[in-house]
């Protein structure tokens, strides 16, 4: 700072400087907050089906550069980039099976073109060969209340539409007690084989599809490690390495019987 500025003005300048800085910081904080809130909002929609071989949603959102190469590569126009107003993470690729499902191309053209690895060839490769059956876009779920096969009306549209029929979806015969002389032909989805391509959802004859694809994390539950299938040799092996943990609370200091017999002043002595 030059010395020929009067003291008073210097002070003013300094004040102005601090005020301006504070103002800039405040504005940046406010802007940052709104910005983060918005991004949080648009990236929160989990009910979204990604192209085959997409990374886990968190990593996908970091990695996808929104170039649309996968979209251009798809010969069926399955994939779309989210537009403003779609209420989906802006610019990222997704598909809606009831409109155009994924036809599970054996050469998977949409995956190798991805420049960022957001679509990871490794996820759809077995023995160095592309294998679309390993794709995991989601999993089909049946609403047995609206599926007419569960009513006893014959329909196997979804079963026939499935590119891996017999593995991802099977038909189960059960007796129809109501008529006594017919059988139910109920479709059953096997989550481990289903790729979530959505061909079944597209084929479903009901007004709103009774079979539909959801992202795996949304559709499937999780039993946790606490339960072991005793009838499954492999699962039982987990017991060998099992450790136990005992939780001590105030109650567990005494034997169970004692605490049951303790009337704790409920009755008059």
């Amino acid at each position: 700072m030059s010395n020929n500025i009067p003291k008073k003005d210097q002070k003013m300048n300094r004040r102005e400087f601090f005020l301006n800085s504070a103002r800039a910081v405040g504005l940046a904080a406010l802007g940052g907050l709104m910005w983060s809130a918005y991004v949080d909002e648009v990236t929160a929609s989990t009910l979204l089906l990604r192209p085959p071989a997409a990374l886990k949603e968190d990593d996908f959102l970091k990695t996808c550069i929104k170039c649309g190469m996968c979209v251009e590569a798809c010969p069926y126009d399955t994939l779309m980039l989210a537009k403003p107003g779609d209420n989906k993470p802006l610019g990222t690729p997704y598909f809606v099976p009831r409109e155009i499902p994924c036809y599970m191309c054996p050469d998977i053209p949409c995956v190798p073109v991805c420049p960022t690895g957001a679509l990871d060839e490794k996820l759809v490769t077995t023995n160095n060969k592309l294998d679309i059956k390993k794709a995991d876009m989601g999993v089909a779920v049946i609403d047995d209340n609206s599926c007419i096969a569960f009513w006893g009306i014959q329909c196997d549209a979804c079963y026939r539409a499935c590119p891996i029929l017999g593995e991802a979806i099977t038909v189960e015969y059960t007796k129809n007690e109501r008529t006594g002389k017919h059988a139910f032909l109920k479709p059953v989805v096997h989550a481990d084989a289903c790729t979530g391509c959505g061909l079944c959802e597209k084929a479903c004859v009901t007004e709103k599809a009774a079979i539909f694809v959801l992202p795996r994390e949304v559709a499937l539950g999780k039993a946790g490690d606490y339960y072991i299938k005793g009838w499954d040799k492999n699962d039982e092996k987990r017991l060998e390495k099992a450790t136990s943990k005992i939780t001590k609370t105030k109650l567990s200091e005494r034997k169970a019987v004692d605490s049951l017999n303790d009337l704790g002043g409920i009755l008059d002595d």
Binding site: G31, G32, W35, K62, I65, K66, L81, P84, G91
Partner: protein, 275 residues
Amino acid sequence: MINLIKKNRFLLLRRVSQISLMVLYIAANIWGLNILVGNLSSSKLFDVIPLSDPYAVLQMFAAGALIATDIIIGAVIIILFYMFIGGRAFCSWVCPVNMITDLSNYIRRKFEFNKIQKRQPASRNIRYYVLALSLIISFFMGITAFEFISPVSMIHRGIIFGLGFGWAAILIIFLFDLFVLKNGWCGHICPIGGFYSLIGKFSFIRVHHNHENCTACMKCKEVCPESQVLFMVTKDSIPVVSGECTNCGRCVEVCDDEALNFSIKNLKRKYNEIN
């Protein structure tokens, strides 16, 4: 007529450049003409050369994404290219938003809004704050923050893949530049412009001012979207040094006195100046 073309030669070339790039991208999407596939975020030239937006890649870094080699090569190619020809050449020769903001600016001049609203109330450094902020948010949220709000990618993607409500972004930028702040988006806020300004510091292609020819008509400052970079006009014979110059050449073509021209940066002279 010839004169009109001469007076707007760079403007015309720029529009040709902006529009033909767009046409190539659209052609790839619609007719599968694979000259330039993808969009400004990342594309492939002739099916082999990767090109990618270095600023988007920087956000991916900040977000902690695993970055594929292809995308790094693509970003390096783009950085080197713009380091040579002037960073913000991206803005004036490629970016589609430039056509919108130029239109606002043109209307402003025609209706003399600039005379009414003399002082611009905002700092041109906001873009660098937005740039920093985008990296901070990317880091903390693990997401490429600017890419989720960027009107530039939104509009560009929109033209290739379908616009959705993207027209709203176009309208907002247009109105903002027209009524709120002169050169508001490109000259003050856009972090892509900020990013390329930083890269442009090193560029070889520069506008050079020769003050002996200058008659102080100020036409150049009138048209320049970053008029602060022309501070030497009438005073000094030096090249534009700021990376904020968009290398649009508008000043060169409006100058009637040959005081401005493109030049290749003279490395030797620079060396002499330093010593």
